[in-house]
C-alpha cells in the first residue's frame, strides 16, 4: 500500500478516537508526573528529608546526656558528612532542573538529556566511590580508637596492611557493583537516547 494513499485513512482515523471527558482530564491534571526526571526529583527530596530527620535525631541525642554516645570526633564528623551531602544534593538538583526541555525541538532535548544524564551518572559514581572510602577510613579510625581506649598508639605495619587490603577489596567490589547498578538504572536509557540522536544525524 502506498503511504500517500494511507494519508486519507490516517486523517479519517480522527473519527475513531473517542474524546475524553473533561472530568477525566482534570483527574489526570491532579496526578503527579511519572517521568524519570520527576521521579528522580522526588527521590532527591526524600533523601534530603531523611537526612534532616536523621540529623534532627542526632542533634537531640547529642543534647541529651542520657543518650549521648558521641565522642568529640563525631562532633566534627557529623557536620562534615552533612555538608558533603548537601553539596551533593545541590549539584544533583541543579542537574535535574536543567535536564529537560520538553517544549524544545526533540533533537536538542534528547541531546540535553543525554549530556545531563551522563554527568549525573558520573556524579553518582564518584560520590558512591568517595563515600565508601571516606566511611571506611572513618569507621576504621573510630573502631581502632574505641578498642585501644586511652592507651591509643600508632597501629603496627601489619595492622595497616590488613586494613588497607580489606579497604582495597571493598573499594573494588563497590566500583564494579556501582558500575553494574548505574548501567541497569540509566545505561539502557542513555543508550536508547543516543541511538535516536545518532539516527537523527544519519543521512
Amino acid at each position: 500500500m502506498e503511504l500517500d494513499k494511507l494519508k486519507e485513512l490516517w486523517m479519517d482515523s480522527n473519527k475513531s478516537s473517542i474524546p475524553i471527558d473533561e472530568d477525566k482530564l482534570r483527574q489526570i491534571l491532579s496526578t503527579s508526573s511519572n517521568g524519570p526526571i520527576a521521579k528522580m526529583k522526588r527521590n532527591l527530596k526524600l533523601e534530603v528529608i531523611s537526612l534532616i530527620i536523621v540529623y534532627g535525631l542526632l542533634l537531640w541525642a547529642t543534647s541529651n546526656e542520657d543518650y549521648s554516645i558521641f565522642t568529640t570526633f563525631d562532633y566534627v564528623l557529623l557536620p562534615v558528612t552533612g555538608m558533603l551531602f548537601l553539596i551533593y544534593a545541590s549539584i544533583k538538583y541543579k542537574q535535574l532542573k536543567n535536564m529537560e526541555c520538553v517544549s524544545c525541538e526533540v533533537k536538542s532535548n534528547l541531546t540535553l538529556q543525554v549530556k545531563s544524564l551522563e554527568k549525573l551518572v558520573k556524579l553518582y559514581f564518584l560520590a558512591g566511590n568517595i563515600s565508601v572510602i571516606f566511611v571506611y577510613l572513618i569507621a576504621g579510625a573510630i573502631g581502632y580508637v574505641g578498642t585501644e581506649g586511652e592507651r591509643v598508639a600508632f597501629p603496627s605495619t601489619m595492622e595497616i596492611l590488613i586494613f588497607l587490603s580489606i579497604g582495597t577489596l571493598l573499594v573494588v567490589i563497590n566500583y564494579f557493583l556501582g558500575r553494574w547498578y548505574l548501567f541497569t538504572l540509566y545505561g539502557k536509557h542513555i543508550k536508547k537516547l543516543k541511538t535516536i540522536i545518532y539516527e537523527m544525524d544519519e543521512k
Binding site: M1, L3, K7, L9, W10, P19, S33, G35, E105
Partner: protein, 170 residues
C-alpha cells in the same frame, strides 16, 4: 494555574487530542502503556502550558512535547486514571466492527508503523498528518534535506511492510 487557564488548556486539548491519541497508539506497546503515556503527555503539556507564547503553531508545540515524552518515558505509572478510548484499534476488535475493511486497513497501518524505529515513527506520523518539511524540522530539529532522504526510505519500508502483511493475512 487558575481555572481560566485550566479551561483554556482543556479547550486546546479538546481540539488537538487526536495528536496525542495517535502518538500513544504508535509508541505504547499495549493498552496499559498507551494509557500511561497519554497521562504523562497531558501532564507535560499542562506543566508547559503557562510558558507557551504562540511563537509556534499549537500543533507543533503539542507534537514537540508529546514526542519528547514518548521518547524519554519508559516506566509505568501507579496512579493511573482509567481511560476507555484505547483499544479502538485492537486487532481483535477490528473484525467485530461494522466498518471492517476500514478498521482492517487502519490496523494494517498501525501495524506497519509499529515495525519502524522510534524516530521513523515520529517522521511518518508528521508526514501522514500533512505537516510540511519545515514544520517537521521545527518539531524534530532535523534539517529538511535529511528529513526528505529519511522519508523516501520510510516510504519504501512501509510499502514492503504493508505488502508482506497483506500477503500474510490473506
Amino acid at each position: 494555574m487558575d481555572s481560566t487557564g485550566e479551561k483554556a488548556f482543556l479547550e486546546i486539548l479538546g481540539k488537538h487530542e487526536r495528536i496525542i491519541h495517535k502518538i500513544c497508539h504508535a509508541y505504547g506497546s499495549d493498552a496499559s502503556a498507551k494509557q500511561d503515556l497519554f497521562q504523562e503527555i497531558i501532564l507535560q503539556l499542562w506543566k508547559s502550558f503557562s510558558s507557551f507564547r504562540n511563537e509556534s503553531k499549537i500543533s507543533t508545540w503539542i507534537y514537540r512535547i508529546a514526542l519528547n515524552t514518548a521518547f524519554t518515558h519508559h516506566r509505568r505509572s501507579k496512579s493511573k486514571v482509567t481511560l476507555s478510548f484505547f483499544g479502538v484499534f485492537d486487532e481483535d476488535k477490528a473484525e467485530e466492527n461494522e466498518e471492517g475493511a476500514y478498521q482492517e486497513n487502519l490496523t494494517l497501518l498501525y501495524g506497519a508503523i509499529a515495525k519502524l524505529s522510534e524516530l521513523e515513527k515520529a517522521i511518518v506520523m508528521l508526514y501522514l498528518d500533512d505537516k510540511s518539511y519545515e514544520e517537521m524540522q521545527e518539531v524534530l530539529g532535523i534539517n529538511q534535506g535529511t528529513l526528505r532522504v529519511k522519508m523516501n526510505r520510510i516510504k519504501e519500508k512501509m510499502r514492503d511492510i504493508t505488502k508482506s502483511k497483506q500477503h500474510g493475512t490473506r
